[in-house]
């Protein structure tokens, strides 16, 4: 719990709340100020826009405990604000709302537009409204309402409500005399630690079709094709070579377990199952899907694999990965970012397979954490930029 002091609509408020409580929930649930609406709850739709220290802000991604000491003004607190009175009348006159869900956020943003941009034309108003979604009006009435207030004259508001505190001056020796950060964390040690880098060729060709991201990897193994193919007949062995995976069970070609991935501040733990099927001519497929329960992100995909001869005693393992990422994680882990990770996972899979078949243990899944993965991704990006195959 966290003790928070806020000034809400001019009233001092103290509350002991869980730190994860965002400002909109705090206002709605604890103060019963339900004029602040919640739409997307991740900073996109603008329905929860209110004023923090007099400036518009998203209350769904501002945590009440992180705003400790701040002054907050909700739509209720602007009831008698002269600009808001003019805007309400204009919204009514211009039919600027239908269902009303977006309206509190629209009004707060509209108030900011008329105060900050007195010369705004229709195009500029639309640009400024880009962060507030309305699904009823098509925005036409909202734009007209804002234009009407600008045309008829914006009422004066006290300067205290327009917030323009000057920025302070940085001291000359900013940052000096501070203690150095703690010695390298386990994470950074892991990053710097030895990462087994084979000389397998990695080629990733991304093809997008129907939401699928597909990439091809060709990996050279210093083992004859028959031997590689024989080893691949064991689904348990395949499972143990998947980086980041923890296997719960393997039965009749069906693998159940989890696979962990991390990207910057993001974490995902996909729980699911995969099925291995074998075809003719040393080919096969692995199909699987999993869900990260915490974020409701779903990952589904397949890997087609083929073992081909390479020279006298070597072989080539060709893997065609196709995957679809759906849900919140897909918003942040865009295109090329995920592609690199998928390519990396396929690469590490082949290296683990080679190690297992040569009688060495695959690197344990835990040490194939994403720090190592990230490091390898960076190395490969660098190599590509320098025009070398890693």
């Amino acid at each position: 719990m966290s003790l928070v002091t806020l000034r809400v609509n001019g009233e001092d408020v103290r509350a002991d709340i869980p730190p994860r409580t965002h400002l909109a929930d705090f206002l709605r649930e604890h103060r019963l100020l339900t004029g602040t609406h919640l739409g997307c709850e991740h900073g996109v739709c603008g329905a929860c826009t209110l004023l923090i220290e007099g400036a518009p802000a998203r209350s769904c991604i501002a945590y009440a405990a992180a705003c400790d000491g701040a002054s907050v003004t909700t739509i209720e607190g602007l009831e008698h604000d002269p600009v808001m009175e003019a805007l309400r009348a204009a919204f009514t006159a211009e039919h600027a709302l239908q269902c009303g869900y977006c309206t509190p956020g629209m009004l707060v943003t509209a108030r900011d537009i008329v105060l900050r941009l007195p010369d705004a034309d229709a195009d500029r108003i639309r640009l400024e409204l880009a962060g507030n979604l309305c699904r009823c009006t098509g925005y036409a009435g909202i734009v007209r309402a804002i234009q009407r207030v600008l045309r008829e004259g914006v009422p004066a508001v006290p300067r205290t409500l327009t917030r323009l505190a000057p920025l302070g001056t940085l001291s000359r020796d900013e940052g000096e005399g501070l203690s150095p950060p703690p010695s390298p964390s386990p994470a950074s040690r892991e990053r710097e630690g030895p990462v087994a880098v084979g000389d397998g060729r990695v080629r990733a060709n991304e093809v997008r079709a129907g939401g699928n991201t597909e990439l091809t990897q060709t990996l050279r193994l210093s083992l004859p094709p028959d031997q590689v193919w024989a080893a691949l007949q064991d689904p348990a062995l395949i499972a143990s070579c998947i980086p980041g995976a923890a296997i719960a069970s393997v039965q009749d070609g069906r693998i159940e377990g989890t696979m962990e991935a991390a990207l910057g501040p993001m974490r995902a733990r996909f729980a699911g199952a995969a099925t291995v099927r074998y075809g003719t001519d040393r080919t096969g497929t692995i199909e699987g899907e999993g869900q990260d329960r915490a974020s409701a992100t779903r990952l589904s995909g397949s890997a087609r694999f083929a073992v081909l001869p390479d020279g006298a005693s070597g072989s080539v393992l060709e893997i065609v990965l196709a995957y679809i990422l759906r849900g919140p994680l897909a918003q942040f882990a865009r295109g090329a970012v995920v592609q690199d990770f998928a390519a990396e996972i396929a690469y590490l899979f082949a290296r683990n397979l080679e190690a297992r078949m040569q009688g060495r243990a695959a690197a344990p899944a835990a040490s194939l954490g994403l720090f190592a993965l990230l490091w390898r991704v960076l190395r490969r990006r660098l190599a590509r930029l320098l025009g070398r195959e890693p």
Partner: protein, 260 residues
């Protein structure tokens, strides 16, 4: 959605923040405009949020003959409104006013954006093109070209924070260009380019590639160079084409500015 349960701490100094951030599961939060959505979607699952906005002295600015310095907690809105000193031609304000939406710019900070290192963010690309460097809480000065390690990754050690950003003043005869492609104003960019030229030498940076910003010099700082770099970074031909178009626009703005 609601975030996972976490504790929150509000250190009063960078040293105190560094100690808190050394704990496992700790994450720093500046304006919280990128971390907030990740928390709500439960993509980020910290045990402790270390909020930095109670640390004094991080939201100021300074300038000297060679450069302007912007404190890490200066907001995009403050920069867009011209309340921070200008290294030349309003380059910072022009970039800042295109970041997300006003309500986000009012809270989001330049230092937070850099440390978050989203490949699609504006500051990593813009500040790399401007030859900026960051000053960290441990006294390190890191050039922007070295600062971003990859998607959502920087070279900061655990507990090390950005205190300020130093941006060299632009030469008097310089030209500047910045262009980005977004499906909707304020959305994540899917291509961007920034160009700085004095007529003889040119720096072109392409961003939103999925990794760190790519810096191209002089003969490589062309539309074709941007396309090649985008393809080398693993983008598909369509994405690489959009990158090259952004590069062309940025270079055109820059060369017109340099002639003027």
């Amino acid at each position: 959605m609601k975030p996972v349960a976490f504790d929150i701490a509000a250190p009063a100094s960078l040293a105190e923040a560094a100690a808190l951030l050394a704990q496992p599961g700790a994450m720093a939060m500046a304006g919280g405009q990128s971390l907030g959505p990740m928390l709500n979607l439960r993509l980020a699952r910290p045990e402790l949020i270390v909020r930095l906005n109670a640390i004094p002295g991080l939201a100021g600015v300074a300038e000297d003959a060679d450069a302007v310095t912007i404190g890490a907690l200066v907001t995009h809105a403050a920069i867009a409104d011209g309340r921070a000193p200008d290294p030349g031609m309003g380059v910072l304000a022009r970039a800042a006013e295109g970041i997300a939406y006003r309500a986000v710019r009012n809270r989001g900070t330049i230092g937070g954006s850099l440390c978050h290192a989203d490949p699609a963010a504006d500051w990593p690309t813009v500040l790399t093109a401007l030859g900026a460097s960051v000053l960290t809480s441990s006294g390190r000065r890191i050039a922007m070209t070295d600062f971003i390690a990859g998607a959502f990754r920087t070279v900061l050690a655990r507990g090390e924070l950005v205190a300020s950003v130093r941006i060299p003043r632009l030469p008097a005869d310089a030209g500047w260009g910045y262009a980005k492609a977004c499906r909707k104003p304020g959305e994540f960019a899917h291509a961007m380019a920034a160009a700085l030229t004095d007529g003889a030498r040119t720096r072109l940076v392409i961003g939103a590639t999925g990794g760190k910003p790519v810096l191209l010099h002089d003969a490589d700082a062309t539309e074709q160079g941007a396309r090649d770099a985008a393809l080398a970074a693993g983008l598909d031909p369509v994405a690489a084409h959009i990158q090259s178009v952004m590069a062309r626009r940025a270079l055109q703005q820059a060369s017109e500015g340099a002639r003027a």
